[in-house]
Structure formats: C-alpha cells, structure tokens
C-alpha cells in the first residue's frame, strides 16, 4: 500500500499495512499565506503578517507570540475595528504552491495546506493571552465580531488555496487548551468559537479537503462538538485526555492522531526500551477502537535520538499490530 492508501484504509476502517502517523503521508505545499505569516528562525522578535510580535527559536516547531501591553495589535477589544488590519490576500504569488502540487504524486501522498492560528489562537496572538481570555468573558459581543472577521479571512484563504492548487487536506491549527484543561469554559467555546469553526470546516469540505484539526491539548469536554461540526481527524490528541472513553463517546466518528506521551519520552537520559514501551502502550491502548494513528501529538520529539527511536518502534510495532489484529470484513471469521 502507498502511504496515502494506508492512511485512508485506517480512516475508512479497512485493513492497513501498518498503523502510523497520518502526517507522515502529508506534504505541505509552500503557500504564500503561510510564508507571509512566518517569522525567521533566529530567536529574535519579528512581526507576523497580522502584526503580532513573535519569536521562533532555532529548531523549534513554530513561532511563539511575544505580546506585551505595549506591542499588542489589539490593545482594546472594543476598538478592534480601528486596531486590526487583516492581511491582504490579493497580489500573493501562488506559483510555488501550484508547481509543488503539479509535481506531486497524489496517489502516493496527500498535498496539504497548513492553516496556522485558528480563531482562538489568532485572538490571543492579537491581544495577548491574558487580555484575550478576559475579553472572552467581559466583552463577548466584541470578541464575536472580531472572531467573525478572522473566520472570514480563514474561509477566504481556504477558497483561494483550493482555486490555486487544490489541497487534499487542510491541517488547521488551533490549540484550544493546555495539558490540564480547555482554556475557555466549554460554554464560552460553544458560543463564540464553535459556530464560526463549523463554517470553516464546512468550507474545507465544500472545497474537497479533509479537515485535520490540530490541538495538542485537552479537548475531552468538546469532542462531541468536534464531531458535530464535521472535523474529520483530530491531530495532537495527548494521552492526558481519556482517549478510549473519547473513542467510545464519539462512536469512532472522530479519527484521532497522537496518543504517545511526548513529555515522558522526549527527555534526556531515557532508556531506549522505555521509549519503545510507550509507543507500544499507545498502539495497544488506542488502536483497538480503530481510526487511530499513533504518533507524537506535537509532531515529533525535539531530541533527534528520541525521535528516531519513536519512529523505529512505530514502524516495527505499528506494522506488527496491523498484521496481528486484522480488520475482518462482514462474515469473515478470524483464522
């Protein structure tokens, strides 16, 4: 099976050759929206395309906002209309993305769009986390209007990307919580984020994209909502969520990527067998329910040796597990 076929087999509850990270079958096209929003990998402060001061440390997986009361783009949520300037989509050069997509073998691998900073993340990138959190509770109408503006932009990007290079998958990043809980109370998330996020997911589907939502945090209180609004795959499921309970509660409708406890294996002086045991634990615990892709929730270990061990065990045990636990077709008996 080609990587894409293997991942779709898991998605469709068919027999795969192996269980592994869905993301390993996905290549992101170099799109100009993501490029314009990125900052150099030099550990210094730069403004992204929305004006947020960010820092990206060399070798880190992504930029971090460095918002202070002085440099915040939106200093007062009641004045966001004057303070927020949404990046222009006109005049961007999509040729590299088009060329990349034209040269890709889509039978082999997925072509992806990386959509960084969803509604929630963008709101705190613009205001700083503390002020954004307070604004969600203190000025919900203003927040709703500002989120509407951000959602319209995200929807326009999806439509334009579809027109330019037809991604198979959108990897949409919006970390809604921490390792302990959701950031927003679920009632607030449902009122302010969910309806707009549903529109974004629906747009991706209209444009023929699979919707992979990245949130490497607790999402347990809202997993039924995630199914309801049509999220196809939740990427970044940390094991601090009760994943078997979530698989049961959602009836398998939410395919899941993640499960390996990264902070437990991505540390100095850990034994190789300890890392391998954690990979096997994740596969044994979460693959039986089906539609599960074992992986490091944040994508990869920061430490190269640890990452290599994780991937080696995923390859070996993920393949063995698939072989030893065949998905039987209706009427078929185990041999």
């Amino acid at each position: 099976m080609k990587p894409r076929e293997n991942m779709m087999a898991i998605f469709n509850r068919e027999q795969p050759d192996y269980y592994g990270d869905f993301m390993a079958a996905l290549d992101f096209a170099p799109d100009p929206v993501f490029a314009a929003d990125s900052v150099p990998d030099d550990g210094l402060e730069h403004r992204d395309s929305w004006g947020t001061v960010c820092v990206k440390l060399p070798g880190s997986p992504g930029k971090h906002p460095h918002v202070t009361p002085e440099n915040a783009v939106v200093k007062d949520v009641t004045a966001w209309r004057e303070q927020l300037k949404v990046p222009a989509l006109e005049g961007l050069d999509w040729s590299a993305a088009r060329e990349f997509a034209a040269g890709a073998d889509r039978s082999e691998r997925f072509v992806g769009l990386f959509s960084a900073q969803g509604l929630f993340e963008r709101s705190h990138f613009l205001m700083g986390m503390e002020d954004a959190f307070c604004a969600y509770l203190e000025e919900p109408e203003e927040m709703a209007d500002m989120l509407r503006e951000i959602a319209d932009y995200k929807i326009a990007v999806l439509r334009e990307a579809a027109r330019q290079f037809q991604p198979d998958v959108v990897f949409f990043q919006d970390d809604w919580g921490s390792k302990q809980n959701l950031f927003l109370p679920p009632t607030v998330w449902r009122e302010l984020i969910k309806p707009l996020h549903a529109e974004i997911v629906a747009t991706a589907h209209e444009c023929g994209m699979l919707f992979v939502h990245h949130a490497d945090c607790i999402c347990e209180p809202i997993v039924e909502d995630m199914v309801e609004i049509g999220i196809d795959i939740w990427q970044g499921a940390i094991p601090q969520n009760d994943l078997p309970a979530i698989q049961e509660r959602t009836g398998g409708e939410l395919a899941i990527i993640g499960g390996i406890d990264a902070p437990a294996v991505d540390i100095e002086h850990i034994g190789e067998e300890e890392i391998r045991a954690e990979v096997r634990r994740a596969i044994d615990a979460y693959c039986p329910a089906g539609r599960f892709y074992p992986s490091i929730p944040s994508g990869k270990c920061f430490r190269a040796w640890n990452d290599a061990v994780v991937n080696d065990e995923l390859e070996k045990y993920g393949r063995r597990w698939a072989r030893e636990h065949p998905i039987l077709e209706a009427g078929q008996r185990p041999s």
Partner: protein, 181 residues
C-alpha cells in the same frame, strides 16, 4: 447580603468594575480593611481556586476573578497601611529565560499580593543573572518565584537556582517554582 458578601460575589463573577466601589462602600460603612481583604477578596479566590483545581473552573475565570480581587486590594492598600498592617514579606517573580508564558506568573503575583506580600515582577524571559542582580540590589527579598510553562525551558529553573547559589544568596531566600507536569 452584606457589602462584604457582595464584594465576594463580584470577585467570584470577575466583575472588577464593581469591586472597587463596593470596597469603598464597605469602608464607608466602617468594615475593617483586614476583614474586607480576608472575607471579601481572598476567600472567594480560595473558592474559585478549588474549583479550578477540580477542573470545574477555567483559566479565564481565574483571571477575571484575580483582576477583580486586585482592583479591590488597590482601594484597600492605603487603609491597610493606615491600620498598621506590615507586608508579610517581599517577593520577586518572573518567567525563566526563554519562556514567555506569563499567565500563571501573573495569577500567582496577584494571589500573593492579595495575601499581603510586596511583589516585584521582573516580567518574562528573565535570565538567571537578572534574578541574581535583583537580589544583590535588594537584600530584603524573602522569596524568588520562577515560572516555566514549557518542558524545554524548565531546566532554566535549575539554572536560576544554581546562579543564586553561586552568588552566595541561596541561604537568604526561598525559591518557589512552577513548571509543567
């Protein structure tokens, strides 16, 4: 409902604009500043803190409550000083080098200020040398509070403690830290 109870209710609901005037009203009614602090401001934070620990309250709810409590303590401060209340001690707080996540740090600052400590906030991304310099310039500091959210910046807590040790200041201060679990 007494005015002190109204203050506690406003703190619980995070109504910071209501808290200052309510504290002033309680003072005008002759309620002792310390009683307003203990029963009106600190007690409801304890309740919401317990709810947070149980996963029933969320960070924004803690934040708006802590900001409301802060609004009340600002009104109370001169009255507490007038009543002869001394600060319980002095603390310096900051997130460690490379870490820019300051919500937890800010919450802790507000909480220990509310408890009666005088707190200097060095902000985010504070190098070990900066903590040491501050301690060298302020020999009456009792507590150093170091905060880190990321596993990648957690070792900086150790680096800060070692720098304080090397500067010969470790016996003069308690170090309080919070890191990912």
């Amino acid at each position: 409902m007494t005015t002190t109870e109204e203050i506690a209710s406003a703190v619980m609901r995070g109504k910071r604009k209501e808290v200052g005037p309510l504290v002033q009203r309680a003072l005008d009614e002759g309620v002792a500043a310390q009683a307003i602090l203990d029963e009106g401001l600190i007690a409801p934070m304890g309740v919401i803190g317990d709810r947070f620990s149980a996963g029933e309250a969320f960070v924004p709810e803690m934040l708006v409550a802590a900001r409301a409590m802060s609004a009340g303590t600002e009104v109370l401060k001169p009255h507490l000083a007038e009543a002869g209340a001394e600060p319980l001690g002095k603390a310096v707080i900051g997130t460690v080098k490379g870490d820019m996540h300051d919500i937890g740090k800010n919450l802790v600052r507000m909480m220990i200020e509310g408890k009666g400590f005088e707190v200097t906030d060095l902000g985010v991304d504070v190098a070990p040398e900066a903590f040491v310099s501050f301690l060298q310039e302020h020999d009456d500091v009792d507590i150093v509070c170091c905060s880190a959210l990321l596993t990648t910046t957690m070792p900086e807590i150790g680096a800060t403690i070692r720098a304080i040790e090397e500067a010969g200041l470790r016996d003069k201060v308690k170090v309080m830290s919070a890191a990912p679990r």
